[in-house]
């Protein structure tokens, strides 16, 4: 077992805004519904904290990546409904280029790691890499 923190996640903070923009590109929604859709996607490590989601939506609106308007649902409550802006669309596309580039680098690293393991096995020596 590694003594240090060996966990490696694409943290909620790093992925949340691109995922929110993507969900809003698919369909304009209010925060309540976005939190439900985020949970169904199971893309983020851990639960989507409602406070974090709402704070990010407000920040994204200040940065003009999304716009909001009130949506009333029959006799139910009116909620703030968000939609992605052209600027938000553009940023999402740019983010995806960066994510793909990172994915390629990670795949390259995984390949190097596995090649090294194969080499160790072929030598018949002990695996010097930590378990877990």
């Amino acid at each position: 077992m590694c003594k240090n923190d060996c966990s490696w996640n694409l943290t909620a903070d790093r992925l949340l805004q691109p995922v929110l923009l993507f969900l809003l590109r698919l369909k304009p929604s209010h925060g309540y519904e976005l939190i439900q859709r985020l949970a169904q996607l199971d893309l983020l490590e851990g639960e989507a904290d409602p406070a974090t989601v709402y704070r990010n939506l407000r920040r994204m609106e200040q940065e003009e990546l999304v716009i909001s308007s009130w949506e009333a649902t029959g006799t139910g409550p009116a909620r703030r409904r968000y939609a992605v802006t052209p600027k938000g669309d553009e940023l999402l596309d740019a983010w995806m280029v960066a994510v793909r580039r990172q994915k390629e680098k990670l795949e390259k690293f995984i390949q190097l790691y596995e090649n090294h393991l194969d080499w160790e096995k072929a030598r018949g020596g002990e695996n010097l890499l930590p378990e877990g």
Binding site: Y32, E33, Q36, E47, A72, P77
Partner: protein, 270 residues
Amino acid sequence: MSRAPFRILHAGALRRPMGECVQVFKERYPDLPVELESAGSRECAARICDGGIYDVVALADTAVFARWLAPDYVDCYFVFATDQIVVAFDRFSRGSEDITRDNWIDVLLSPGVIYGRSNHNLDPCGYRTLMVWQLAEKFYGRPGLYEALQDGCSRIYPKSIDLAGALVEGRVDYAFLYSSVVRQLGLCQVNLPSRINLSSPALADYYATASVTLEGRKPGEKVLLTGAPIEFAVAVPRNARYPVEAQWFVEFITGVGGQQILEDCGLIPC
């Protein structure tokens, strides 16, 4: 002749943020006297149904609007904040040095420990507390826990802000309150798991497995209320004396300036 006051009726838990929003309102409308009145949200709704004239009403549960006020008394109500239920305490509370998210039930049920809640028939924090206890029984796999927590709860106050006062004054050791109220009063809190604290829309279906029977609007009437994520909402009643000014107030509290006040008060603007 003096002008009739601009009247705001709000849930007790919103006392601090409403007070701060009123300061901004007074800068916008310096000649208009303002009256703030607070009660448990169900009691607030009853006052409106009984003919009370208010310009703004802000409640701790959208269900109170849906069941009591819309569409007869308000046309539309706006969700503006959310929160979570926590176990509040201070450093003088019995067992406070040992209480954690994992042992809070055992601490509360220990001999000599006094804990309280607000009245479920008057205040959403009260019926939400009962829902939290039901969900805790299921979450922790402890059959009979709901009944044990009910039996052990010796102090029930009309609204959550009264309960908070009882905690500050040492009349109870622990209180089930909104996290925002705890923060505003500088108290300590045990955060409960999201599956029981009524904070997350992602768990709405799970929360709905809890339910509480409440007194209805008519004498002898009973209504069943199911669990749901916590949402605070605000509206302009149909009989508002100052509808234009009231609309300005609602736009402020749901806008950037109001959201900052809400966040500073520990609420989650949404």
